[in-house]
């Protein structure tokens, strides 16, 4: 895929650059390799599925018969090029399918037969269940198998016991191992992937032959391909245009006979083929296949083409806050001291008390202190007589006790209530200023961490609060632009978060989403989707947990994360192998691009007809009505060369547009009016003008062929 469809702003949250496949450039060897397939598709029973190209094939057969009966250079040249037209159409489809086949072959390699170690009487907590060896294909739903380091997982399932690192590169192309563990939302494992460490027990959730890899193979090969609703609608329009042009040409013969210019079968067939929308008719299947393929290249598997189309229509995007809109963790943003304490003092205390805090929040405090106040990070061994108090979920504080000969100083940093209690327990009285600071931060959507200090000198002790650290969610870079783009495309974004409404509001403001759903339970998500759909809107969402499954099923586009549970993957109609929720935006763009490509090539195809008329009609009738030669504005050399040029152009343009069909037209997120304006100019006007040039150029060559002068 060339770059424009992948805005650079995509933050690669999985920590690696997105895998790029050179999908846009058509390798000429691919054309040659797909040739046998293309020839096989000339079978009329196959061609019948594509009414436009079927007419071309019938026409080619008719001209062939005619050329056999009354041979001539012209008749044979037209015959050959009509067959080529049909062949090129098949070639487009075969090339598009060929790319899928290559991917399918890679997947098949992962699908080697494995031996499974089935546990016959596994129960949760069972210590030493009986084990038997069976072929992987003999596994049934609900079986339990044990897999240890170095072994292949024999089938799709959920981890029910243990934790292991798994190499999923066979499916995702990602070489870094992932962690799979029982319980939670990272329990799903895929057959054919390899356990690298530890031991897990897997409950099988898919029958042999219906596993994820099997489905992937079927999808990328196009075996499961069904026409999508929009493709059907467009096919109907193209079929009716084809019928109109058939009628226009068939009825032309009696008119021509009356005019004294009876036309040969070859010319009439040539006119029909030139007029019917062959360009879009030939490329339509390839566009659909390539659309799915573009998703696969981004490591997204769409279970149906319908889902890809729906993605283009999406009105509302539901995005989880964490990981999608914000980086996973909160980070320290500011030190707010109470009156009488300097910022430096607070920063120093906060840093000292965070040294033993290995949580991301704690580390971010150390980083902030270093960056803003040049306080060098100090490590644990550096300070004499320091006893570090690590953060625990119970105490909700971390800190340090510094035993100086002169005074004993304790610092604590943590949740406001915890630290304030600690100060009070040590005889201090936090002032109202602290409460104000804490409330202020909470109101702005941040999380306050209070820093307290207790100093003991001799018998006297002094406990007080030094200040507050402002922790906040950090919105990923570029998200605001992204949401602005989506808004221009007419898509509303809703942030889903478990935070309280205050925090949610602040983050929503900062990220620039249109709306948010705070303290969201799975039922709330479901209700929101239903509500949007009632109003006729299409909703897209991502999800990974089992409790996301109902919402994923309800959403029009439900993208399940590959790391998620198998329930979620079953429920969604797409799976993102990279488990990158931001990709939803790209999926929407690919859906739109697919439709735009169809529309653009349809427009192009129809606009082409104008030039073809100006080539063929004077060629047919200028002999009896010399005035019609004035329509020969391209000044084509002779009737034979004019008709041949039009047919050759018609065939070559299909090949020329195969790369565009596979790559998709350029798509830049913008409003409907801007998009339409751009595409009409490019493909409407371009489609009008280009064939005039093309036919003229071809005519300049063809006029030298003996027999076509």
């Amino acid at each position: 895929m060339s770059s424009p469809a992948v805005p650079a702003a995509t933050p690669p949250s999985t920590g690696r650059p997105p895998r790029r496949v050179a999908g846009g450039l058509l390798d000429p060897r691919q054309l040659v390799r797909s040739l046998p397939d293309a020839l096989r598709k000339l079978d009329p029973r196959v061609m019948l599925h594509n009414p436009v190209m079927f007419v071309v094939e019938v026409g080619a057969a008719l001209t062939a018969l005619s050329a056999i009966r009354t041979p001539g250079v012209f008749a044979w040249v037209i015959t050959v090029w009509l067959w080529l037209t049909a062949l090129f159409a098949n070639l487009a489809e075969a090339v598009a399918e060929g790319r899928g086949k290559a991917q399918a072959a890679a997947l098949r390699r992962a699908k080697t037969t494995t031996t499974a170690r089935r546990l016959t009487d596994w129960r949760p907590g069972a210590t030493d269940p009986a084990e038997e060896e069976v072929p992987g294909t003999a596994l049934r739903l609900g079986d339990h198998v044990v897999v240890e380091a170095g072994q292949l997982i024999p089938g799709d399932g959920d981890v029910v016991e243990g934790i292991a690192s798994v190499d999923e590169s066979a499916i995702t192309g990602e070489s870094a191992p992932v962690i799979r563990e029982s319980g939670g939302d990272r329990s799903a494992v895929t057959g054919g992937t390899k356990v690298l460490s530890d031991r897990i027990v897997v409950e099988i959730t898919a029958k042999p032959g219906e596993t994820f890899i099997d489905r992937m193979i079927a999808l990328v090969e196009g075996a499961a391909r069904q026409r999508t609703p929009n493709e059907i609608a467009l096919n109907i329009l193209l079929a009716s245009l084809t019928i109109i042009f058939l009628i226009a040409v068939v009825t032309l013969q009696p008119f021509a006979v009356f005019a004294g210019a009876e036309q040969t079968l070859v010319i009439l067939v040539a006119l029909v083929v030139a007029l019917i929308p062959t360009t879009i008719g030939a490329l339509l299947p390839a566009i659909g296949i390539a659309g799915m393929d573009r998703l696969v290249q981004r490591n997204v598997l769409a279970m149906s083409g319908r889902a890809v189309e729906a993605a283009g229509d999406v009105n509302t995007l539901l995005l989880d806050k964490t990981g999608t809109i914000t980086l996973g963790n909160r980070q320290a943003a500011a030190f707010l001291p109470v009156p009488g304490v300097s910022v430096e003092e607070l920063a120093d205390a906060a840093q000292l008390s965070s040294i033993a805090d290995e949580t991301p929040e704690g580390r971010s405090i150390v980083v902030l202190a270093k960056e803003q106040y040049a306080l060098r990070g100090r490590s644990e061994g550096e300070l004499d007589g320091a006893a570090f108090v690590p953060f625990t979920a119970q105490s909700r504080m971390s800190g340090v006790d510094l035993d100086d000969p002169r005074e004993r100083r304790s610092l604590r940093k943590g949740a406001a209530t915890a630290v304030m209690r600690w100060v009070r327990d040590n005889g201090g009285h936090p002032t109202a200023d602290v409460g104000q600071l804490v409330d202020g931060i909470a109101a702005s959507g941040g999380t306050p961490l209070v820093v307290g200090q207790v100093t003991r000198r001799g018998g006297a002790s002094d406990a007080r609060v030094l200040g507050v650290v402002h922790l906040k969610d950090v919105v990923k870079e570029g998200m605001r632009d992204r949401f602005d783009q989506l808004r221009r495309m007419g898509i509303r974004t809703v942030m889903i978060t478990g935070d309280n409404p205050l925090t949610a509001h602040a983050i929503a403001q900062e990220a620039g989403v249109d709306d948010f759903l705070a303290e969201a339970a799975p039922e709330d998500k479901m209700a929101l989707i239903r509500r949007e759909q009632e109003g006729g809107k299409l909703v897209a969402m991502t999800g990974d947990g089992t409790n996301d499954a109902p919402a994923l099923a309800q959403a029009d586009v439900g993208v399940a994360m590959n790391t998620g549970t198998s329930a979620a993957k079953e429920a969604g109609n797409m799976v993102d192998l990279d488990s990158n929720p931001t990709k939803l935006i790209e999926i929407v763009e690919i859906g739109k691009q697919l439709l735009i490509t169809r529309g653009a090539l349809t427009t192009f195809s129809i606009a082409n007809d104008v030039a073809k008329y100006f080539a063929i009609i004077p060629a047919m009738f200028a002999s009896v009505h010399p005035g019609l030669d004035r329509l020969n504005i391209m000044r084509l050399h002779s009737p034979a060369s004019a008709i041949t040029s039009a047919i050759v152009f018609n065939a070559l343009i299909i090949v020329a547009l195969i790369p565009l069909a596979l790559r998709g037209v350029r798509y830049r997120p913008s409003s409907a009016s801007e998009l339409l304006g751009r595409n009409i100019w490019l493909y409407g006007l371009g489609g009008l003008v280009l064939p005039f040039l093309g036919i003229k150029l071809l005519d300049l060559l063809i006029q030298f062929i003996p027999g076509l002068r």
């Binding site: 609703p229 059907i232 609608a233 467009l234 109907i236 329009l237 079929a239 009716s240 019928i243 109109i244 042009f245 009628i247 226009a248 040409v249 068939v250 009825t251 032309l252 013969q253 009696p254 008119f255 021509a256 006979v257 009356f258 005019a259 007029l275 283009g312 009105n315 495309m489 007419g490 898509i491 509303r492 006729g536 859906g591 739109k592 691009q593 439709l595 735009i596 169809r598 529309g599 653009a600 349809t602 427009t603 606009a607 007809d609 104008v610 008329y613 009738f621 009505h625 010399p626 005035g627 019609l628 329509l631 409003s671 409907a672 009016s673 998009l675 339409l676 595409n679 009409i680 409407g684």
Partner: protein
């Protein structure tokens, strides 16, 4: 005042008058088609007909009512024509021959009003008034009723009901067509159109010859002929006859009448869908096409006469009434061929190849700019559906028009609609040209003769009803063939429109967002105009090349 100034002035007056009536008439029609209130007289009609005026029909039921009504109308009119010698006010006219009676019945029921007969020589007064004029009213109402269902398809949601045919028909006749016709009949009488029950008066002319002056209830039929875009004249000469159209003033009124409902219906559309801008967009496309055609035909007739000698001798006035001159004739010709009206005040056969070709092309557009009463609007809305489909894809969404998605089912009906008329025109003309016997009906050889046949079929299939002249169409073959083409050209598209309306009405509308293709901006107006011209141009270009183009390009 010179011809040119007068020509511009009358065009300006016409446009101003149409612009002034656009809002009130369009709004009134919207009210008539949406209100819950019945008039007392309407309730009587419903009771007499056993109709529940408050129950809406599903589209198949609506269609059945419409077809049954039209079938009975055809049968009734056919019997009327066959039996006219037994009826009052027959003026001693003979029964109309079977093939001509079929042709005429089909013609008036389909709002075509192709006339293979001469009114003053064939029809008695009662047939004209109670047979033909009645169909002028109801066939116009049927057209508006059908477009009403299509608009309801866009406005209603999740329902299978598209309206009640009998209610729509009754209201349109009683509340709209009758009152306007009455007022303008009086105006026309005041301006010199005759209205009496006399037969022919024989008078001695100044030159000493004898002439039969026909009489009849002309004014009452004249208004609905134009208002309902019917076009069937009382006299054979139609609006060129001085008793139908005596002066430049009546000529202007007649043009106004034939344009006023089709040009107001987009307002009805805008009002009913709750966004008048949608109506303005549609009417703008209509106006653009109409104005361009007026300019082209007028210029052709003024400047494109074949030779300087012909110019000097006034050859461009051939076939045109000296009362009206070129400007008024061209204005009338364009308006009548673009509205499916088919009334004529000049012989289109005598136009220059360019001007005459334009009148054919006008009809080939599918009678949509502004088109017939009702049929014009549904025709352009179907083309808008096609335009939105292609353009909608180019903005990256499943195409939607006014919030309704255009899926396979909708595109099937729209495609069948745009397929029907060209198929009828081309297959019909192909057959006519294939039989040597039927070719003999042409009065001219070469491309001009072919244009005459093409015109006849185009006129019948598009329910226009005007004739190029120059074709002896009162033969069994043409009467039957054109009758069948008129019926198919009228009712097949209606089937598809109603089916589309039903399919749209069942949908839940999609909310409008920035990603929705706006269908009220200049961009869409240009797009729709382009789609219309290209689709029509591509369909008919070969046929036109052998007719008007072959004749015109020398």
């Amino acid at each position: 005042m010179g011809d040119t100034a007068a020509g511009w002035l009358q065009a300006a007056v016409l446009v101003a008058a149409l612009a002034l009536s656009h809002r009130p008439l369009g709004g009134a029609l919207a009210h008539v088609l949406t209100t819950d209130r019945h008039w007392r007289i309407e309730r009587l009609v419903y009771r007499a007909g056993g109709v529940n005026g408050d129950a809406d029909q599903r589209w198949p039921a609506y269609l059945r009512s419409l077809l049954a009504f039209s079938f009975m109308s055809t049968l009734f009119l056919y019997a009327f024509l066959r039996l006219q010698d037994h009826l009052l006010l027959s003026l001693g006219r003979k029964p109309v021959p079977a093939d001509l009676a079929f042709n005429t019945a089909a013609s008036f029921v389909t709002n075509t009003n192709w006339q293979a007969y001469a009114g003053e020589a064939t029809m008695g007064h009662l047939v004209q008034m109670a047979g033909l004029a009645v169909q002028n009213f109801v066939s116009a109402a049927v057209g508006i009723a059908v477009v009403a269902t299509l608009i309801r398809g866009f406005t209603r949601k999740r329902t299978d009901r598209v309206g009640n045919f009998w209610v729509d028909l009754t209201r349109l006749v009683l509340r709209v067509l009758l009152p306007i016709s009455f007022v303008f009949a009086v105006v026309l009488v005041a301006a010199g159109v005759i209205q009496n029950f006399h037969g022919a008066h024989a008078v001695a002319t100044l030159a000493g010859g004898r002439q039969n002056l026909p009489g009849g209830p002309v004014a009452s039929q004249e208004t609905i002929k134009l208002l309902g875009t019917n076009g069937g004249g009382f006299f054979s000469a139609n609006s060129a006859h001085p008793f139908e159209n005596p002066s430049g003033l009546t000529n202007l009124i007649e043009i106004y009448l034939l344009l006023v409902i089709p040009f107001s219906l987009p307002r009805t559309f805008g009002a009913m869908v709750g966004d008048v801008r949608q109506g303005y967009a549609v009417v703008t496309v209509m106006v653009l096409l109409w104005a361009a055609s007026v300019v082209l035909v007028t210029a052709n007739e003024l400047y494109r006469v074949s030779s300087p000698a012909g110019h000097a001798a006034g050859a461009m006035a051939e076939g045109k009434e000296t009362r009206f001159g070129i400007w008024s004739s061209a204005l009338f010709a364009v308006s009548t061929t673009l509205t499916s009206c088919g009334a004529v005040n000049s012989a289109h056969d005598s136009y220059t190849p360019g001007g005459g070709g334009m009148t054919i092309f006008n009809m080939m557009l599918g009678e949509i700019a502004p088109g017939g009463t009702g049929s014009g609007l549904y025709g352009i809305l179907i083309l808008a559906v096609v335009a939105v489909f292609v353009a909608g894809l180019m903005v990256g969404r499943t195409p939607e028009y006014l919030g309704k998605k255009l899926r396979g089912q909708e595109m099937r009906y729209a495609s069948l609609y745009i397929l029907t008329t060209p198929a009828l025109v081309l297959v019909g003309a192909g057959l006519a040209m294939a039989f040597p016997g039927e070719r003999a009906a042409m009065l001219n050889p070469g491309p001009h003769g072919f244009s005459e046949v093409l015109y006849a079929l185009t006129s019948a299939a598009n329910n226009n009803g005007s004739a190029f002249a120059g074709l002896s169409a009162d033969t069994v073959w043409y009467n039957t063939g054109l009758g069948v083409v008129m019926l198919l050209g009228r009712f097949l598209p209606m089937v598809f429109v109603l089916a589309l309306a039903g399919s749209l009405a069942g949908q839940q509308p999609v909310p409008v967002t920035a990603g929705t293709l706006p269908t009220h901006r200049p961009q869409f107006i240009g797009l729709l105009t382009g789609v219309i011209l290209i689709v029509v141009g591509l369909t008919y270009f070969p046929a036109l090349a052998l007719g008007p183009l072959a004749e015109g390009l020398r």
